[in-house]
Subunit: 362 residues, 2 copies
């Protein structure tokens, strides 16, 4: 019997891809890279590797309806609804609790719902090996060779190769470090044994739950109570009562930094991209012959290069004249024009709008 399951984390808001990513339509629910949404692409990626009934989704109430509509082939019960956002540690703990109750030997593949992977065949191969490694009670991470001193990722320091033999290289993790400051990131970029944490994890549900018991004991108590009630008439009440007081925490900070028996598989060849901000679309989409990427809608360019045009549909014409390295997003009641090098600041824009209660633009 196969004990492998996927847990797709689909509750994020993706503010740096605003104004396309909005509160009611966060980035994973949008066809940002073509016809399928990022969430659908995440599900598609598991085709031929996991049957649909083995795919679980953790998401927020507001998004569940949309996500269900996008993947009608996934059983309704596989959607686990967080009563309120409490960070990735809580989400993963909840999913592990539910899976361990269903199958004590469950191995869970934890996947963000809003990442891009170019090399899908290699992804499936790596996942198969990762599941094998997880079967030996490792917490498995996927490492990406850094190309910049990014402060948006956790970093993984590789140690010796695992003594067990697998069909793909696998290493002990010497140290797992949550998102660093700029100087720390620069230092780690220089060291060849450091990689970015891709945010995908593979482990046995019981193994990660043991780490929760050791490192986040209060969360574990809540999860245990939820586990007992799960599938009973009390499920919703207990979930809500236990969940709301939980302190929001990431899996990186709450568990991974101090976890034991962590392994890493090198994964740069996957062509992974977290589509973190508008700038990252330049790494994923293929530009036209003048170096521009035009997406949805009609565009006429005059002396324009290195720019991304995300249009508002075919009826509207976007004309650019004499501009370089611009990101133009014409979406609904918002027009964003941002220099490529400032793409990170879109988050600040959104934060300001939240502060000013400009809800109609969020």
């Amino acid at each position: 019997m196969d004990h492998t399951y996927a847990v797709i984390m689909a509750g994020g808001s993706g503010t740096r891809l605003w104004p396309v990513s909005r509160k009611k339509h966060p980035k994973q629910t949008l066809p940002l890279l073509g016809n399928r949404t990022l969430f659908q692409m995440t599900v598609d990626r598991l085709d031929g590797f996991l049957s649909k009934d083995r795919i679980f989704i953790v998401t927020a109430k507001e998004q569940a309806e949309v996500l269900r509509g996008q993947t009608p082939e996934i059983p309704q019960d596989n959607f686990i609804i967080e009563p309120d956002p409490r960070g990735t540690a809580s989400v993963i703990g909840l999913a592990a609790t539910v899976l361990a109750k269903k199958d004590p030997d469950a191995v869970m593949i934890v996947l963000p719902s809003d990442h891009y992977i170019r090399n899908v065949d290699l992804f499936r191969l790596v996942m198969r090996v990762a599941v094998d490694v997880a079967g030996k009670n490792y917490l498995v991470t996927l490492g990406i060779t850094p190309t910049s001193p990014a402060t948006g990722y956790g970093y993984i320091q590789r140690g010796e190769p695992l003594s067990e033999q697998f069909d793909y290289p696998a290493y002990h993790v010497k140290r797992f470090k949550e998102k660093p400051e700029q100087t720390g990131a620069l230092e780690m970029l220089r060291q060849i044994d450091h990689s970015w944490n891709s945010g995908m994890f593979i482990w046995r549900a019981d193994v990660i739950l043991k780490e929760f018991a050791r490192l986040m004991p209060r969360l574990k108590v809540a999860l245990d109570r939820i586990g007992v009630a799960w599938g009973t008439a009390e499920q919703e009440t207990v979930l809500r009562n236990e969940w709301m007081p939980i302190r929001s925490e990431t899996i990186d900070y709450g568990v991974m930094e101090f976890a034991e028996r962590v392994a890493v598989l090198p994964a740069s060849d996957l062509g992974w991209n977290d589509i973190g901000n508008w700038d990252s679309l330049f790494d994923v989409l293929i530009p036209n012959e003048t170096g521009n990427i035009v997406f949805r809608g009609k565009h006429k360019e005059f002396d324009t290069s290195g720019s991304l045009i995300y249009g508002n549909g075919d009826d509207r014409l976007v004309v650019t004249v004499g501009v370089q390295n611009l990101i133009v997003v014409d979406n609904g009641n918002v027009l964003l024009i941002c220099h490529k090098n400032h793409a990170q600041k879109v988050r600040d824009v959104v934060n300001q709008l939240i502060k000013q209660k400009e809800d109609r633009y969020l």
Copy 2:
């Protein structure tokens, strides 16, 4: 009896202010600088100087309705409708013919309908003097000291002061040169006796008609026939029959270059601006403290300077991040993003759209 009249030329299309200026709503009909349209501002400028019944408008059929609506105080009959565009020479010839028939001593002030003048008091003073000079049978032009080697204006080379005494300096014109090539413009910029032709003219109707007879005799024959029929039942038929075969020509090329007895009044202090393209709004409108001009609509700026934002109305938010010297025009079914230094190219955009028959964007 006062013999002074104004003739406002309001038939232009203003393609360089596209996409706000459109075929059906050319720039003179739009409130580009505030609450009043450029055409209304042109009429307002004559307040207290000419009564409304002395203001004549030459325009195209498609625009007459809108213009009449904008100036209900001008008598309906003062709107002269060109059957088809034939250039400024023909427009001025037609107006001169109509005025000369009405008042053989008519002095006409020819004004474009889409220019801006900051110093309205000085404008009225200069006009009063210009009318006096025109009374001495001069063709009066207003010269603007060049600030760049512009190729979009005719140039005027000043000669000796007029021997007659007026309340304002007035000079003989040595040479009138139509729109030059780049090298010619550079050369004239270096010579202190050259100025730009502002496109405003003041002359007796009979004097300019004599020049038409000498320099554009075929046009003059047509105008004479139109003049005979004017005010009779034949007016429309004769106008149409005579007008359609006319060859389109500018007053600069057709008359001014070879005209005799031309005078020029220095007019730089008027604060004149022909609002030729989007860039020119920077000279006319007052920027905010970060050097941006925001017009219609809501704007949030982050590291933005030297930019013009022409919004689509209050419901839409324009956000700019990390950009400089951009012109952003969000208007109806078109979004234009143009570097300030490329504002002249907007005309090329429009020409391409005309060629491609993209009528809905024109």
